[in-house]
Amino acid sequence: MSNTATTETKPAAPAIEKIKVKVDGRELEVPKLMPDWQGKLVPTTMIQACELAKTDVPHYCYHPKLPVAGNCRMCLVEFGTPALGPDRKPVINPDGTPKIAKSPRPAIACATPISPGMEIYTQTPGVKQMREGVLEFLLINHPLDCPICDQAGECKLQEYSVDYGQSASRFVEPKVHKPKAVDLGPRIVLDDERCILCTRCIRFTKDIAGDDALGIVNRGSYNTLTAYPGKVFDNNYTLNTVDICPVGALTSKDFRFQMRVWFLKETKSICTSCATGCNIIVGSREEKVYRYTPRENDAVNACWMCDHGRLNYKWIGRADRLAEVRRQTSEGRSEKTTWTVALNEIAEKLKKAPHGSVAIVASARQTNEEFWLLKKLADKFGALTDSIGYFGEGDKLLLNVDRTPNRTGARLIGICQANVGIKMMVIADSIKVGKVKTLIVFGEDVTKSSLDAELLGKLDTLIVSDILPNETTKRAHYLLPGCAHVEKRGTFTNIKGRVQKFMKAVEAPGDARPEWEFLHDLVYNVTGQDGFLTIEGLFNEMAKDVPAFNGLTWAGLGDTGVTVPT
């Protein structure tokens, strides 16, 4: 890795003292302090030490990105500390090891800090019995709705039941019944019978989203999660509570009864709805996208994403997606054609185009690689290039004012200026005066900008690539169907300069091809440049060429990306 690119956004923290603990008899050194949910350094807890020791401690209420509550009692472990003699010095066994005094009472691993020489036992019969006991208590009043519960398949209660549950229940009493299918807000359904009262959702919405909307009412076994009376649970982050709810109590209305999770293929991807670039997992089955869920990346989105981005996927499977390569005949009729024909014709026309007669409008929703290929075309023809910005209201947590995923990439590669769209007027004027005769548009309806339908009519050649039909695609001389980001691979550069890659989840409809593929063909046809037939090769070439990306490699991006100076 070069020195321009780092995986960390912050400078390296000062070295933290390490202390020795034993987890199930295995000694290891763990930092004395570790980040808590806010990233503040606090004394390391047992559960963090166990995680470093690769020992799984079952837990419900603990979440690394939430304040600790310690109420589920699933994480109980036994432990011992070095015994102290009357002189306050450690007692030494005859074999020279310090004598360990086993604590008579267990401790919750999620909230108990470690101390030097501590021994944590997670596999003793006592611990197993405590886990079984807690799990049984959680299950006795649980409705066992699994056949109709959207959580089934990714439910912690199911998972730990396999590990610590009994095959039969000895509970013969009537169960506690609570409200079912409660409408908590526009995007959330609550089933109180399934709730195990871990308070994760309450802590999230209070401490992370800053909207103190949820709470528990009633006592004892009748504890019931609810929204504050008269309050609607509708902040822009509500669906994160569905992710962190360890059971199926909070479910998404959007995903409700849509598909069982075990059928979903999970693909690592990036949210495209704003410039933050939250890391996501795309859940798809049989070429249909069913949901987005956040993927942990501490440099970008921690474990969260906003509801706006999460639900912005429905257009991917729309029936009117562009799926045919089309060209306009000399009579002005639109006809279906093939990629080879269209790309060869476009190349011929471009080759004949005089310097400065071509303009390119790219979309800030395109990938770095596509920008770079467009930039190659632009350099060849001395073309004007720009993009169009989309802005909305941002918030303090994740949602950025910039609603495009890759304006930073477009700027770093030289497609647009810091002030995006500033050259659109120049392009419009050049068309008006007849200087620009060929316009290449990617993923934008330019008729909504300064390039209205009349101006487009003045062009000799209008080459358009898009995903959905619009006024610009209707007027295209060549229409090249492209891909949604879930249908291809590539990288985006987020607002903070983090270059992150995304993978392909579903097939594109019909003849649609990833833009980088046909752009590569076009660049090859026009300039003869070759050598990047794979996305990996293309990215690596680009990284060598674009100063901001120097030193990056596709493989080096990893799953969570690399930050470059912007």
Binding site: C146, P147, I148, A152, H177, R256, F257, M259, R260, F263
Partner: protein, 185 residues
């Protein structure tokens, strides 16, 4: 450990005794029906075969004693079915409610492709709702591929009624009973 094979004896090398042995049952029946006057074949389809009680025929959906759809669209059978004969379309958030009180969910569409089904019975075994059973039908025919894909209505009509524990109804009754317990909300 290496176990050396015993060399084959002459009888074994001739293969004939093994062949005769293999055909013993066949030959016995052939001789019996030729000369013993005892036929073991039947004039199908005029004559129908008496289906043994534990026979596994075609899987159909059943209704409960109140005439409600038992299937809740959990899609476990779809998951377990080895030849992928089952296709379920879940109701989705805006779909029709289950016709069973308190169950929330039932399939929007449920198809079994009987060209694929191998009558293995895994769907019946996995079903948590006792909603699908292998019944006695063994000769399903059709004139087209489409005809061999049975939809929800057809499967329910063919399956008939299968009573039993009405889990969801029981939950409803239990919820009402809660009112009579001294420790209250």
């Amino acid at each position: 450990m290496i176990v050396n094979r015993k060399p084959l004896t002459l009888a074994e090398r001739l293969y004939l005794p093994a062949i005769v042995g293999g055909f013993r049952v066949t030959i016995r029946h052939a001789l019996r029906s030729l000369f013993g006057g005892k036929t073991v074949t039947m004039e199908y389809p005029e004559q129908k075969w008496a289906v043994p009680p534990d026979y596994r025929g075609a899987p159909y959906l059943v209704k409960d004693q109140d005439g409600h759809t038992k299937c809740v669209s959990c899609q476990l059978c779809e998951f377990v079915c080895p030849p992928k004969a089952i296709k379920i379309i879940p109701p989705g958030p805006a779909g029709e409610l289950a016709d069973r009180p308190n169950a929330e969910k039932m399939p929007h569409e449920f198809e079994i492709n009987f060209l694929r089904c191998i009558y293995c019975g895994l769907c019946q075994e996995v079903c948590p709702e006792e909603a699908i059973f292998l019944l006695k039908d063994y000769s399903l025919t059709g004139l087209s591929r489409e005809e061999m894909v049975y939809g929800k209505e057809k499967l329910l009509a063919l399956g008939g009624v299968h009573g039993g524990i009405q889990k969801w109804k029981h939950k409803l009754e239990e919820a009402k009973e809660q009112e009579n317990f001294p420790v209250k909300v």
